[in-house]
């Protein structure tokens, strides 16, 4: 039996003359936190709408939890939780009523709804404010409530469309922490779209990169970094002369050297021992304080992929 929570086969979607999704094929294993990365307009939101059966593909097909997204869309929606571009919170209703509504939608019993409201609002630290209108809350709090709503009926899969977009740093961190906590506690598969690479790096154990409706790459963040990112050495210190930098640039294993505010970043063609660089710099009169081996961040990988696609 397939262990895929999501299976997309050569799916395309056109809007008038624009192709929003172009032959996308993708599999997401159950229990994964999958990050779907891409710039604005890449096709991330369209993919989520197609997975929820809110749109029909122009060609190709998709299965969510084993159900066809076109012919069994109601089954799909009954088994998934969604936090879309907008939080979808009824701001004039209380937090409790917002969750109550979605509990009723999902045919949960009254006792089950009450227990779940208490459990989730306690988990995200909002139980004491359950009677307040959501309109009186901060955007971050409403987003946390929307996250709780998406997980309310214990769906095996949640689809999140840029869950931290537009939030200030501390709210985004809080939502991310809640997401990680709830995902681990509930054991759900999470499919989230984002253009925040740091977010994907922190919470996803698999990422796919999409550009102009096409999947560019897919894999574990570490693997992607290893594949696409170049090894680096970072040296912190003082007195990095221009001559020393020229000598470094002349070495065959060095791709580029950049010096900024006492921080030297050396991009390498391949992983190598940094000791000769340190020796060279010291010989040239520099004072070396710290040496770090590094690899490219997911952001670097993303930018490289976007450049390659151009």
């Amino acid at each position: 039996m397939s262990n895929n929570a999501i299976r997309i086969e050569n799916m395309s979607r056109d809007f008038d003359t624009t192709r929003a999704l172009d032959g996308l094929s993708l599999e997401v294993d159950a229990g994964t936190v999958f990050g779907f990365l891409g710039p604005n307009g890449a096709g991330k939101t369209t993919t989520i709408r197609l997975l929820l059966g809110l749109l029909e593909p122009t060609s190709g097909r998709a299965e969510v939890l084993g159900y066809d997204t076109v012919t069994q869309a109601e089954e799909v929606r009954a088994r998934t939780g969604a936090l879309l571009e907008n939080s979808g919170i009824y701001e004039q209703m209380s937090a409790e009523d917002n969750l109550e509504f979605y509990g009723r939608i999902n045919e949960m019993s009254k006792s089950e709804r009450n227990a779940r409201i208490k459990e989730l609002l306690t988990n995200i630290g909002l139980w004491d404010r359950r009677k307040e209108k959501a309109a009186d809350w901060s955007r971050g709090m409403r987003q946390k409530l929307a996250l709780a709503r998406a997980m309310f009926h214990r769906p095996p899969l949640v689809l999140l469309d840029e869950p931290t977009a537009g939030l200030d740093v501390s709210s985004a961190v809080a939502v991310r922490e809640d997401l990680t906590l709830l995902a681990a506690r509930e054991g759900v598969t999470v499919f989230l779209t984002t253009h925040n690479m740091g977010e994907a790096e922190k919470i996803c154990n698999q990422v796919g990169v999409i550009r102009a409706g096409k999947l560019v790459t897919i894999g574990h963040p570490d693997d992607l970094r290893a594949q696409a990112g170049k090894p680096q050495v970072e040296i912190v210190g003082r007195g990095f002369s221009e001559h020393a930098l020229e000598l470094l640039r002349a070495r065959p294993e060095v791709a580029s050297v950049e010096s900024r505010n006492g921080r030297l970043t050396i991009d390498l063609h391949e992983t190598t021992d940094p000791a000769p660089f340190v020796s060279l710099l010291v010989q040239e009169g520099a004072q070396v304080e710290e040496v770090h081996r590094g690899s490219a961040s997911l952001e670097d990988v993303f930018l490289t992929l976007m450049e390659e696609e151009k």
Partner: protein
């Protein structure tokens, strides 16, 4: 399906008075039937002018139109304006349950307020013209009031759904809806100016029952067409792309 409709009813009932400005707007609109139902009968010379003529039917026409004209746009266009529509559509609720639930709350609310206004009118004439016994609406007027108010509520609701699905804001939907339903009244007045006598002669040749049946039949036909169109148009795939 029944439980799904009840769920939407539960939410719509909660939301009806809680939407920003909704409570004051609806209370303001509810003032109209109250004033009409009290002031109009006071201007008559006898109770039968209210209970046996078409005057009470003005309430049966205007009140549901005004109330549904406020609640339906708030319920449908408002869902889009407040960015809650897509999340609602992403739930397991069937399209039909969302439509019927929202539609029903507006129709039932408007119909009940209209019936209350008609009852208030009856109380007013009974107090003003008290002669030792209660007066009631004649059977034709009573049936006409009941059915016309219900048909007006459902017709305006259907039209309101259609308009709200294309409107970006509640205000835009409300204004368009009011314009559409006030237009026939204005046209009727224009026609009456030029053809008042033939119209009166034609109407005088008909009895009240015949006239009522014609009006009800016309309303039923419009009602069925408008609501069938609304039901057909209210589909997830179409709604998401508007």
């Amino acid at each position: 399906m029944k439980n799904d409709i009840l769920t939407v009813l539960w939410k719509e009932r909660k939301a009806l008075f809680k939407v920003q400005g909704g409570r004051s707007r609806i209370l303001l609109v509810m003032l109209t039937p109250i004033l009409l139902a009290v002031i109009m009968p006071l201007t008559f010379d006898g109770p039968e002018e209210w209970t046996d003529t078409v005057f009470s039917m003005l309430i049966a026409v205007i009140v549901p139109m005004m109330l549904v004209g406020v609640t339906i746009p708030g319920s449908f266009a408002g869902e889009r304006e407040r960015n809650t529509l897509e999340t609602l559509l992403a739930s397991r609720l069937p399209d039909r349950a969302i439509l019927i639930g929202k539609w029903s709350v507006s129709v039932v609310f408007a119909w009940l307020v209209t019936l209350a206004a008609l009852l208030l009118g009856l109380v007013t004439v009974n107090i003003k013209f008290w002669g030792g016994g209660l007066v009631f609406y004649s059977p034709t007027v009573a049936i006409g009031d009941l059915l016309i108010s219900l048909l007006m509520a459902t017709t305006v609701a259907g039209a309101g759904v259609l308009i709200s699905l294309r409107a970006n804001t509640v205000q835009q939907a409300s204004q368009t809806l009011m314009m559409i339903f006030l237009l026939p009244l204005i046209l009727f007045q224009v026609v009456a100016v030029f053809a008042l006598r033939p119209m009166i002669e034609y109407l005088e040749n008909m009895n009240g029952e015949q006239l009522l049946i014609i009006v009800l039949l016309v309303l039923v036909v419009i009602d069925v067409i408008v609501n069938a169109l609304a039901a057909n148009r209210f589909q997830r795939a179409k709604l998401i792309l508007i």
